[in-house]
């Protein structure tokens, strides 16, 4: 496997209109996972492209799923899509549904929960 050849192809793909995300930054994020030491160029390219596809997929799903008001994609659309679709389940922790404080307090009043020390 000639790595020079691969690198050329990778650079070509990122310079042409194929990729619009910075691969150096993607690499940084990948490296933040424990136990990962080095990353193959092809793997990096694949991951970057996959990430792009992911953004499109998430944006479009949420948009279509959304409230339809003013044709705007809102945070709540994202939160709803993440909860409903199995594909996006891994995002539930970072995309909680937003709730107004007064609604939450009302909820607490109706269902008193014992405060546990977590």
């Amino acid at each position: 496997m000639s790595s020079n050849n691969v690198e050329e192809k990778v650079n070509h793909a990122s310079n042409s209109k194929g990729i619009s995300l910075p691969m150096t930054r993607v690499k940084l994020i990948m490296k933040s996972s424990p136990d990962v030491s080095s990353i193959n160029q092809e793997a990096l390219l694949l991951t970057t492209k996959a990430t792009e596809l992911f953004v499109q997929h998430l944006a479009l799903s949420s948009f279509n799923n959304g409230s339809g008001k003013d044709q705007t994609l809102l945070y709540s659309d994202l939160a709803n899509t993440v909860e409903e679709k199995e594909t996006f389940q891994f995002l539930t922790d970072i995309l909680p549904k937003k709730i107004l404080v007064r609604d939450y307090l009302k909820l607490l009043e109706e269902n008193p929960i014992e405060e546990a020390d977590n």
Binding site: S20, R25, D35, V36, S37, T51, V55, L73, T87, L95
Partner: protein, 173 residues
């Protein structure tokens, strides 16, 4: 101050200031220090810089542009939606990096007990039910290089132009 009007060049190299200003997140370390110290540690014992993974995002301008291209022409995107997709993206990258790795390590440990070589792990196999969506499965068939017996584990994803159903195992000499 809006991220959309920023040049992508500056924001690609480091965490752009305009991103930090509007949001309620604070990055833990400065741009260059983070990059340099990661490189420094690479050669050594492989310990990571104290870079909290949730602090590293892709530039919001790029993310926003991709989102804009995905939704119909007339659609608009709320600012907090853009920011949150930015976080989701980082989470996604970490997820697809770590999941197959876990499976690989598990197989590696099992194989070390026996003496057989290790088959590679397909990315879709590693991801299991969660992410096996058609749009991903076709793009990411993968092979994993076996470890060379030392601490270094190298993970390789290879594309296959012909549809190889299983996995390719590549040996280093």
């Amino acid at each position: 101050m809006d991220g959309d009007s920023s040049t992508t060049d500056a924001s690609q190299l480091g965490m752009s200031g305009e991103y930090m200003a509007g949001s309620h997140y604070v990055l833990q370390s400065q741009d260059d220090d983070g990059d340099e110290s990661l490189h420094d540690h690479e050669e050594g014992n492989g310990s990571k810089e104290n870079f909290r993974e949730q602090d590293i995002y892709l530039p919001i301008a790029n993310v926003a542009r991709i989102m804009k291209n995905a939704v119909p022409q007339t659609g608009k995107i709320a600012k907090d939606a853009k920011e949150c997709v930015q976080e989701c993206v980082s989470e996604f990258i970490s997820f697809i990096t770590s999941e197959p790795l876990k499976l690989y390590l598990q197989k590696f440990r099992e194989a070390m007990k026996g003496e057989k070589g290790i088959g590679g792990v397909s990315v879709t196999e590693g991801l299991g039910e969660e992410l096996t969506d058609d749009s991903f499965a076709n793009q990411l068939p993968a092979g994993i290089i076996t470890a060379d017996g030392q601490q270094q584990n190298v993970m390789v994803y290879t594309t296959s132009y012909q549809q190889i159903p299983g996995v390719q195992q590549i040996q280093f000499s």
